[in-house]
């Protein structure tokens, strides 16, 4: 019969490289009409990073996501970047873009200050305008300022910057140090049905609460969490590369290497935990990798809760779960006094 169980798992995960430098550089160019172009050396690998990076530039310049075009991934034209790895794009590349946008904005403010008759320090960029703080009715459109800056004054609003997360090397003997600038935290709770006659596990639902600092784009965070959970499901129950005695891979195809499909996916409820990291762009950290971290642990704990067996080697295939159930039954039978 099917037995229901629940399992919880939490985790911590660092953003960026372990101690080693992993800088990003970026250039932000404000066009004469107040739109902007961002140059970054990172690569869009499907996660939506370019959209998030565009949002960071837009926020810094007081314009909309749609006003920013992000040019990426060309060693001839874009500045260096350590790349789409280590959940670092939003945090590290995002900081570089933020700083570059601030540098471009400083040029715009220099132009706008005499136009509005105030000091640079009294200006802010909001709603596609440069306005006097606390006096938003005294404003000039960012397009007008950018045009004047570039075409009249000959000072194009272009900013470049780089950023590298601060770390402290680890002691080789004790490992003591500050290997990462920041960490994110998450919890996932899984509910499963385990068939105690076949060992088959069905994942019913997963509640996932993830911290990413400020969610620059909550929709993309949710997408990451759902994608990460699908990888976690494969790790927990299905995926395994198998080798023969001679070291040849025996299942190098998707017929024999079983991955989760949409039919294997549970219902997922994603919560973004309120957080703010003062070292990240607008308080953001990162979210890519950690989404796949606690899933398998939560599922295995749910299996344990359902049928009382602890599977200690992944994946928990039906065969493995059933063998464990049978072993548990056999052990229980022996305990009955004669």
């Amino acid at each position: 019969m099917k037995r229901r169980g629940r399992g919880i798992a939490c985790m911590w995960y660092p953003i960026g490289f372990t101690v080693d430098a992993n800088a990003s550089a970026a250039t932000v160019k404000v066009n004469e009409d107040g739109t902007a172009t961002v140059l970054t050396g990172t690569v869009e690998t499907g996660q939506g990073s370019l959209t998030v990076l565009g949002q960071i530039a837009a926020e810094a310049l007081g314009i909309a996501t749609d006003d920013v075009h992000v040019v990426s991934a060309d060693t001839d034209t874009t500045p260096m970047d350590t790349g789409a790895i280590a959940s670092r794009t939003t945090y590290v590349t995002g900081n570089a873009i933020w700083l570059a946008a601030e540098a471009a904005k400083a040029i715009l403010f220099e132009t706008a200050a005499p136009m509005l008759g105030v000091k640079v320090s009294q200006l802010e960029a909001r709603d596609r305008k440069i306005q006097v703080k606390s006096f938003p009715q005294r404003n000039v459109s960012i397009g007008e300022v950018a045009h004047r800056s570039q075409v009249v004054l000959g000072q194009p609003a272009i900013g470049s910057a780089s950023w590298n997360p601060p770390t402290v090397a680890m002691d080789p003997e004790t490992g003591q140090g500050k290997p990462f600038a920041t960490y994110v935290y998450a919890t996932q709770i899984a509910e499963v049905d385990v068939d105690d006659e076949t060992g088959e596990v069905e994942i019913l639902r997963i509640a996932a609460a993830h911290d990413c600092g400020t969610a620059i784009n909550p929709m993309l965070v949710e997408g990451q969490v759902e994608g990460g959970i699908s990888m976690g499901v494969g790790m927990a129950l299905q995926e395994e590369m198998l080798f023969d005695a001679n070291g040849r891979h025996i299942n190098p195809n998707l017929t024999n290497y079983i991955m989760p499909t949409s039919l294997d996916m549970p219902e997922i409820a994603v919560d973004i935990v309120q957080g703010y990291d003062p070292t990240g762009p607008f308080g953001a950290k990162g979210v890519g990798e950690p989404t796949a971290v606690p899933t398998a642990a939560a599922i295995l704990n749910a299996i344990h809760d359902a049928v009382g067996v602890r599977v200690t080697s992944l994946p928990a295939t039906a065969e493995k779960v059933l063998t464990a159930i049978k072993a548990k039954r056999a052990a229980e039978v022996k305990q009955i006094p004669a």
């Binding site: 789409a84 709770i189 001679n246």
Partner: protein, 465 residues
């Protein structure tokens, strides 16, 4: 009257007609009516909002993805472009005695063949440069490339691979990471030890911690080798132009490192290399270093034509990086109230044939292995060892999913043994703002307890008596 101009007999005509019809179809493919779509994208409001941060803005590339118009490498084509394929060793450990490429080179349509000897610097890697572009002369896992072919079609390139004759002297192989740690085990990178990186984290006094503990829990956990299985396989196009400038379109998540690797393997100044990262159809850590790109570049140099290489799904499994299997020994001392007082961990990572990102995975796995808990006494030791298997490298989580499986499994075992609710025991031990990590780092913006409570609320977690 010659063969071609004679008038066909009636019965022959019928056959000819049957043969012609599919042929006609092939010459004149039906043109589907163009699907009309609005020229002006229907922009959802979120993309137009100022205060851009926090908006559920649709992705700037969503429209092209949705219409199937995103250009992945396999959608790109250049005039005169050739197709490359790589011959895989198919043997886990061997010395190459001889490679005979003459039969392949003689095939019509084969434009060039490349072996490891022709690569200026035949090694690369993000930490240790221990991986050859094409094996020469030692094969260290079955997915090692031994020769590459460029031909006018992919089919001819495939047929040419079968005509390349490689003579191997089999060498002893080691597949089990624990066996590989022994002194007398065959060495994957002789004469060096198979243990190629170690990491240790020590905090507090582990013996004192165990002595003060009421209960001690010990368990061994292990995980499997996993492939990223991105939808788009590793793919690249290399074009070595007449000016001696090399352009690579590649599915690489890190173009800056890729250019440095290309400059090293090809002995070219960086200014003569341009790497263009295309939109990548999934990375998950699997596309963070070069793979076939130097071979494609040299094939392009040899032929003067652009060369495209796209891995098969089989190559994705056997010839690219994978997730580390880890054997994890946990010994944890707790008080009767459920506080973790001491934790000792030993991790053995199966590093596969080459280092790739193993040193990074080792470090992260080791640092994260005690879990997000306040533990005063910690010893975590981690080793990564060479085996004659597909190399392991970066994959979403860098060892963290493996150690999380171990520390969270044990956490539930402890909770059960002590009769504490699994949520409660975690809240009891979890980091607070300002807690000290196992490496002695003071943690900031810590919200693990909030995440525990939020997930529990959403799930409807009730303590059971």
């Amino acid at each position: 009257m010659n063969e071609h101009s004679r008038v066909l007999e009636r019965d022959e005509l019928e056959i000819a007609e049957t043969l012609r019809s599919p042929d006609v179809d092939l010459r004149l493919p039906p043109v589907l009516p163009r699907e009309p779509y609005p020229i002006e994208p229907l922009t959802p409001d979120a993309r137009q909002q100022t205060r851009a941060v926090g908006q559920r803005a649709t992705r700037s590339d969503a429209r092209l993805h949705g219409l199937g118009q995103t250009k992945y490498i396999d959608d790109l084509s250049f005039p005169g472009m050739l197709y490359a394929r790589i011959k895989r060793a198919g043997i886990a450990s061997a010395r190459i005695k001889r490679i005979d490429t003459s039969a392949a080179e003689a095939m019509p349509g084969v434009m060039a063949v490349l072996t490891g000897k022709e690569i200026p610097t035949n090694s690369f890697g993000p930490t240790f440069q221990d991986q050859p572009v094409l094996a020469d002369p030692i094969v260290r896992h079955a997915g090692d490339g031994v020769a590459a072919v460029a031909a006018v079609t992919e089919q001819i390139a495939n047929e040419a691979l079968a005509k390349i004759v490689v003579e191997y002297e089999p060498l002893p192989a080691v597949l089990d990471p624990v066996a590989a740690m022994r002194e007398d085990s065959p060495k994957v990178h002789a004469p060096n030890s198979n243990i190629y990186a170690t990491k240790v984290v020590r905090k507090g006094d582990i013996e004192k911690g165990f002595a003060e503990s009421d209960r001690i829990f010990e368990a061994r956990f292990s995980t499997q080798m996993i492939e990223h299985v991105s939808l788009e396989p590793h793919a690249a196009i290399a074009d070595w132009d007449a000016n001696g400038r090399l352009t690579i379109w590649a599915t690489i998540g890190r173009i800056t490192l890729a250019r440095a690797d290309m400059a090293r393997t090809l002995k070219l100044p960086m200014s003569r290399i341009r790497i263009i990262g295309t939109i990548v159809g999934g990375n998950f850590g699997g596309k963070n270093e070069i793979s076939q790109e130097p071979a494609l570049a040299l094939l392009s140099k040899k032929t003067g034509r652009p060369v495209k290489g796209v891995f098969t799904r089989g190559e994705e499994f056997t010839a690219t990086t994978t997730r580390h299997p880890i054997i994890m020994d946990y010994k944890t001392g707790v008080s009767n109230k459920g506080r973790i007082l001491a934790r000792q961990i030993r991790l053995v990572l199966d590093g596969g044939a080459y280092c790739s990102w193993s040193a990074t995975t080792l470090g992260k796995a080791c640092i994260l292995s005690p879990g997000p808990y306040k533990i005063d006494n910690v010893v975590a030791e981690a080793f990564v060892v060479y085996t004659n298997k597909t190399m392991t490298g970066a994959m979403r989580g860098f060892g963290a999913p493996q150690v999380c499986f171990a520390y969270e499994s044990q956490m539930d075992d402890i909770a059960k043994a002590l009769g504490i609710d699994p949520l409660e025991i975690r809240l009891l031990n979890a980091f607070d703002e300002g807690s000290s990590s196992p490496t002695g780092q003071v943690l900031h913006s810590v919200v693990i307890k909030e995440s525990l409570r939020k997930a529990a609320d959403r799930f409807g977690w009730e303590p059971r008596s």
